[in-house]
Amino acid sequence: MPLPADSRHRFLDPAVVAKLKTIDLKARLVVEGFLAGLHRSPYKGFSVEFAEHRAYMPGDELKRIDWRVFGRTDRFYVREFEEETNLRAYILFDASGSMAYTTGKLTKLEYASSLAASLAYLLLRQKDSAGLVIFADRIQTYIPPRSSARHLNILLRHLEQLRPGGTTNIAGTLHQLAERVKRRGLVIVLSDLWDEPAAVLAALRHFRARKHEVLVFHILDPNERSLAFKTPVVLRDLETGQEKTVDPRLIRPEYQRSFDRFTQVLKQGCAQGLVDYHRIFTDTPYDQALLAYLARRQQIP
């Protein structure tokens, strides 16, 4: 039974999820909440491994009716199978200093951690293998993809221990990773992408050239677009420490146009490179991010 839309969004509200202490629980909450909210799961029944029988319901395909059971019981049952793939997913996690930014209850890093954990949980629950790469100006942690249940704990532990810091070198790091990851798979990038757009896009295309599916979650704080300071303010760059005095009232419209141009360039560049791009603000419920992932997942053969 699907939950009402409002309650589902409340359930997946980042602020609500952030109250949970462990990332494991967060991931479970997000994924179960998300799955419970789906009207009908289309992702069951594509595998060859039998899972269970269930009563036939109008709308089920006739070919899935188990006629043997019908012969014995004179009732219609359909056969269900556990989905089984050999997908290898790489979660590329940006832990640079800019990810520490927040104007609400959780930082971009915390939001991305919960999202990464949820994705990993979802992937492993479906018997896919998931790996984790944490980077800032260089690769800090590389955990190769595995599909075992224990692997989830390893990923979650690393996500829990994450501390933001350092400058961003997305392009360089992605190029480095593209060279390192030989077997094609799904590359999920969680980053605020504060780098030269052309260089970032080139790096993403590098993955595509290696036949990877690439999914980009552009994680942003709402204030990064709205620049909602009421008085003149000295802004200090979280990564470089550089300072700039601005009067937001004067520059806000121009800044917002510039910000929109920046994200538009990234979006268009991704579209041209067949990279799935999703801009997410940290006040957005997780299901939007998960839906974006699943929409991409459908494309995987």
Partner: protein, 630 residues
């Protein structure tokens, strides 16, 4: 340009607040973290100029609006002319600060007019300001700066004075003639303050600036009188309604712990009396009768002193040759007698304890023996007092010679009269200089004071009353026999005798004073003492110049009870009730006396800028709305 409320002018500095906020907000920048400054580096500044201009415009209109509002509070005006100034270069401002000016809004209007005069002065013009209660002291510019004069005006309050404007106008005229100045008198045109015989001196220009409305309501307490001065049981208060309408008020009586209230109904211009019971006691009790809910405060209260009086014992040493009933007739006894006489023969003097009597009367000095003179002398040196009449020439060795030399007996052709009387002396200040002139003296003794002074002199220049240096002995050059004088048959005789004996007995002669009076009280001892008054405490040193401790106090500026020393005498000071009559003088009569009249006030001579400033502030606020909407 001037300001009617210049003391509010400093508030205009608050208009700097928007500018300060603008500057402070620029100086005190908040620091905040931001993920990346990449985009901020690329933001173009095309719209900055308009936004900055908008902000500047907002700052200007806000400052302008605030400044206009605050300046409007100071009530600026454009000066046209100074009324009454004419061609005179300088100005003398007389401010009527009598207590009638406390009625309604008179005082505020008077002060505003005075401020306006000060503010209207052109450069180089001088001004002197004085008040009707203290015309002797003036404040002047350039001796005092104009802002200080404004501040001084603000500190002034209506006094309790009831002085007419005559002394102030006379003083201002003198100053004006010395400095070729015009005089303006800011007053309520009270009739009693501008008597008909007050005329403008030749060459002077005096303008009366009227700050009063013709209509008024006022009632007051004008008198308190005990029913019996010896043993008062009741006090009668007299109330007057000066106004043209009937009034109903509450009269409250308070004396020590006793209190009472009565309704007072007064018709237009009428008076009524109400009697209150007073508590009994041996000590003087200050009492107060107050008329409540009346507009003019100072005349609503009247203070009195209920002092149970004990008759003063007087020893009369009366010889058979100078037997006279005139003393007994003049000094009592009756229900109001202040003195209790004990009459003895001269030969009984040696057996009499003189210390029981504050004062001794000797009707014939020639009948006192030298031994008794010694006793009298000792008595006089130890606090006693005596009135000695000289009937016949004293014999050789008479003790009188210690105080006055006896030069013989004078038998004038017909009679002589008193031509010189020192009415400033406390024993005689109840009399006017001519009060004793009708008395005829057919014979008298020619005396010459040894160390004393002459208080009254006869036409032949012989002394009539001699006071010794220590003030304890008065010697009259006549005895009270019809063959010697008819003084006893004159109206002034009783007051003269009473006053002399009261003075000699050191009885305080007066307990009821008016504001501005000089209080003289007799004390038990000399030295410093504290005078407790409603207006504060004063240190004073008793004056011993007249041979006895006496305090003279001049600071009678506030009505109420005045106590001299912790256990000393108490007197009361009241306002002059006549000042409560607010009837205005006839303007036509004042013009015939030479005054110019400025009515209804000073405002007509100025163009107020406050409404204009309010419009300006409103326009500035509207402009702010428009700029905000852009």
């Amino acid at each position: 340009m001037g300001f009617l409320n210049p003391h509010l002018l400093p508030l205009a500095s608050l208009a700097a607040i928007p500018v300060l906020i603008h500057l402070i907000s620029r100086l005190r920048l908040r620091q905040a973290q931001f993920p990346s400054l990449i985009l901020l580096q690329t933001v173009r500044r095309d719209r900055f100029s308009w936004l900055r201009l908008k902000e500047l415009l907002l700052l200007v209109v806000r400052t302008l609006a605030l400044l206009a509002l605050l300046l409007a509070l100071a009530r600026p005006y454009l000066r046209r002319t100074v009324p009454g100034l004419g061609s005179a270069q300088d100005l003398i401002v007389v401010l009527d600060d009598s207590y009638s000016m406390a009625y309604g809004s008179r005082w505020n209007r008077a002060r505003q007019a005075a401020h306006a005069f000060l503010s209207s002065l052109a450069k180089g013009q001088r001004v002197q300001v004085l008040t009707s209660s203290q015309p002797e002291s003036t404040l002047s510019s350039p001796g005092t700066t104009i802002p200080l004069l404004h501040a001084w005006l603000d500190s002034l309050r209506p006094s309790y004075s009831s002085r007419t404007l005559e002394p102030a106008i006379r003083r201002a005229s003198q100053l004006a003639q010395a400095a070729t100045a015009a005089v303006v008198v800011i007053t309520d045109l009270q009739e009693r303050a501008l008597p008909p015989d007050l005329t403008v001196p030749k060459g002077a220009t005096i303008t009366l600036v009227d700050v009063a409305a013709p209509d008024f309501d006022n009632a007051g307490v004008v008198a308190l009188r005990p029913d019996n001065p010896i043993s008062p049981r009741q006090l009668t208060a007299t109330f007057v309604n000066y106004g043209p309408r009937p009034v109903t008020r509450v009269a409250a009586f308070q004396a020590d712990s006793a209190a009472a209230e009565r309704m007072v109904v007064l018709g237009p211009g009428s008076r009524t009396q109400i009697t209150f019971a007073v508590p009994s006691g041996n000590a003087p009790i200050p009492v107060q009768v107050q008329l409540r809910s009346d507009s003019l405060m100072p005349d609503n209260s009247r203070y009195g002193l209920v002092a149970p009086h004990k008759p003063t014992p007087v020893l009369v040493v009366q010889s058979a040759e100078a037997i006279t009933n005139f003393l007994a007739d003049a000094l009592g006894p009756d229900s109001t007698a202040q003195f209790r006489l004990t009459v003895i023969d001269p030969h009984q003097l040696r057996a009499t304890d003189l210390r029981r009597y504050p004062v001794v009367i000797v009707t014939d000095a020639s009948r006192i023996t030298p031994a008794d003179w010694d006793r009298l002398d000792f008595y006089l040196r130890t606090g006693g007092a005596a009135l000695v009449l000289t009937g016949a020439l004293p014999g050789p060795g008479s003790g009188l010679e210690r105080y006055a030399r006896v030069l013989g007996t004078v038998l004038p052709a017909g009679f002589v009269s008193i031509v010189d009387l020192d009415t400033t002396h406390p024993a005689l200040d109840i009399l006017r200089p001519g009060d004793l002139a009708p008395a005829r003296f057919f014979t008298h003794v020619r005396l010459a004071p040894v160390a004393g002074r002459v208080l009254a002199r006869l036409a032949d220049q012989d002394p009539f009353i001699i006071e010794t240096a220590n003030g304890r002995l008065h010697i009259w050059a006549v005895t009270l026999l019809p063959s010697a004088t008819d003084l006893m048959f004159k109206a002034a005789f009783v007051p003269l005798l009473h006053r002399t004996l009261s003075y000699l007995a050191a009885t305080n002669l007066r307990t009821d004073y008016l504001i501005g009076d000089t209080i003289r009280v007799m004390l038990d001892q000399a030295g410093p003492l504290m005078v407790t008054t409603p207006g504060g405490n004063y240190s004073l040193t008793a004056d011993v110049a007249l041979g006895r401790p006496r305090a003279i106090f001049t600071a009678t500026r506030v009505p109420g009870s005045y106590r001299f020393g912790a256990n000393g005498p108490v007197v009361v000071v009241n306002v002059d009730p006549a000042e409560g009559d607010l009837t205005r003088a006839d303007p036509a009569r004042l013009r015939t006396q030479g005054f110019k009249l400025q009515t209804p006030g000073f405002k007509n001579e100025t163009a107020g800028l406050a409404p204009l400033l309010l419009y300006l502030a409103a326009a500035a606020f509207a402009a702010e709305m428009i700029v905000l909407a852009l």
